[in-house]
């Protein structure tokens, strides 16, 4: 075999092309769920005759009806509209926090993977400490310092997820760095910037996308849990977790006001998880159950 004829160049990973070519059932169902949630979150509050904060004491804790398909809460507000507006908060917080974690975690992971030794240690040891905290506990610590509110929740969850993203990025960078084509590029005298942008980043894209999609689902859960215990979004913002916490007192009289927001949460998280599973099968076959 002619060994020297083997091309030492980057195998072109084209995640997006492969993605469209391989729409697996979990991916399709997951995307459909997220699509429906997005559609509902933006259309239903706009089309409904009720406003999310519209109080109607006479209609307090009314069961599901044609007018209020999911019933009404203790203040007579329409549960369906509130759930849909709650979805907006969930999605915004999830997207914001994962974006934040990506913005912080990708450069950190890249630097520590590309510069082993001192830089790697300076970056990863503190991140190891953050990762040693259970996720909710770390979020609680951040909330204890910064107080509550939607923006603070985004920051808290972003901080919790930064080390996770950084680890994935560091691992893929380390792998790519050892590949023949990167060594060859270095031997040719390519600059670090060029190697990173043309060789390492494209190869890391798959695992990072998979991890981010899984984190989106968990960010939704984390925001809801924090808001539920009073350390998240502040009332009257209709977060799903906050709704569960107020309606909990009326659980026996009006189970619908508790069942719907929780079921809605579960549906959205299920959507993100299915997308994550589908993407992982395609883009990161080695990574398994790297969750929570």
């Amino acid at each position: 075999m002619a060994l020297d004829a083997a091309p030492i160049s980057r195998p072109a990973p084209r995640p997006l092309a492969r993605l469209t070519a391989n729409l697996t059932p979990p991916l399709v169902v997951g995307l459909a769920i997220i699509g429906l949630v997005l559609l509902g979150a933006f259309l239903i509050p706009a089309l409904s005759p009720f406003h999310a904060d519209q109080i109607n004491q006479e209609n307090s804790l009314a069961g599901p009806s044609l007018l209020h398909p999911l019933g009404s809460d203790d203040l007579g507000r329409d549960v369906l509209v509130r759930v849909m507006v709650g979805y907006r908060i969930s999605l915004a917080v999830a997207a914001g926090s994962v974006l934040l974690a990506l913005m912080a975690g990708l450069p950190l992971g890249l630097a520590s993977g590309y510069l082993p030794g001192l830089v790697d240690n300076l970056i990863m040891r503190p991140l190891d400490v953050l990762m040693a905290f259970p996720a909710i506990l770390l979020a609680v610590v951040v909330m204890a310092v910064l107080g509550t509110g939607t923006v603070v929740v985004v920051i808290a969850i972003g901080i919790v997820y930064t080390p996770i993203i950084a680890r994935v990025m560091r691992a893929t960078t380390l792998t790519a760095r050892g590949e023949l084509y990167v060594e060859a590029a270095r031997a040719r005298g390519a600059s670090a910037l060029r190697i990173v942008t043309t060789h390492i980043l494209p190869n890391s894209l798959g695992p990072v996308i998979v991890q981010a999609s899984i984190l989106l689902g968990f960010a939704v859960l984390l925001e809801a849990a924090l808001s539920f215990i009073g350390l998240g979004v502040r009332p009257p913002t209709p977060s799903l977790g906050l709704m569960l916490s107020t309606e909990r007192d009326f659980m026996t009289q009006a189970p619908w006001a508790v069942v719907s927001p929780g079921g809605a949460l579960m549906l959205l998280v299920l959507g993100f998880n299915l997308v994550g599973d589908g993407l992982r099968d395609r883009l990161d076959p080695r990574g398994r159950a790297r969750v929570r």
Binding site: R125, V129, A132, V140, M143, L270, N273, A289, R292
Partner: protein, 317 residues
Amino acid sequence: MGQAILTRVLLVIPILFGMSVVVFAIIRLVPGDPVAAVLGLNATPQLIAQTRQQLGLDQPFWVQYLQWLGGILHGDFGRDYRSGHPIVQLLAQTLPVTFELVVLSMLIAVVAGVGLGTVSAVWRGRIPDRVGQVFSTLGISVPDFWLGMILILGLALALGLFPSSGFTPLTDDPLDNLWHLVLPALTLAAGLAAVLVRITRSAMLDVLDQDFLRAARSRGLSERAVVLSHGLRNAAVPIVTVIGMQLGYLFGATVVIENVFSVPGLGRLILDSTLAHNYPVIQASVLVLGAVFVLTNLLVDIAYTVIDPRVARPAGA
């Protein structure tokens, strides 16, 4: 054997140290005057000044930190300025409750998750496998505090099978204690069990494909010995890894779940003190819960060496 364990133990020390720094930094990072926040609105300026001195806030950061850490190493977590009790008393009351809850959930999750996962792998593609897949997909997606509320609604309030909230100390009445912890433990266990179904199934499928398993069959061993003694034992390595990773979730979730079921544990203490801006108590309770998690995780890591002789007795040693 000693070598592998010792390395692991030594690795924990810097992590615990880092944790204490992060936790200590809380009180310094809070915008505004933490002493005023700790003492509440009715504190006189005189009392504030006095407390400030007691807390050592007039000294440099690292002196404060060393004093605080030194106290903790001697079992002195300081005083709760609201109630006047030593914080260590609060910890001693709440930690055992949380620990019992976590251990109970862990047992439930491992039995249910590993059991269903094994069944799924052995009956791959058949009905038990489908049940396992549906359970794990839903279990991973369900918000646990909501599941807790649904369990209260269904099993406690509608059917009256279990108490909906409250707690009896283990020493008072062990049976009633368990009785009160069933629902919170089930709630905590659901997510972990779901993850374990997945990892057990995939680990078992990997192992069932291995040459040595077919070789075990070729020696005429019973199907039970093949699947359990050889299959599951080999699958245990990845399963234990995941249990270690998920322990943190279990410990963290007590902050939320103890609130749902009014369990007077450490998670509840963390939440209450955070809501009340009671910083010394937040610091102590967060540090203890974090440290307990790190140490439990260490135990899980040591469990590897028991399961896998290749870790305990590397070839050539």
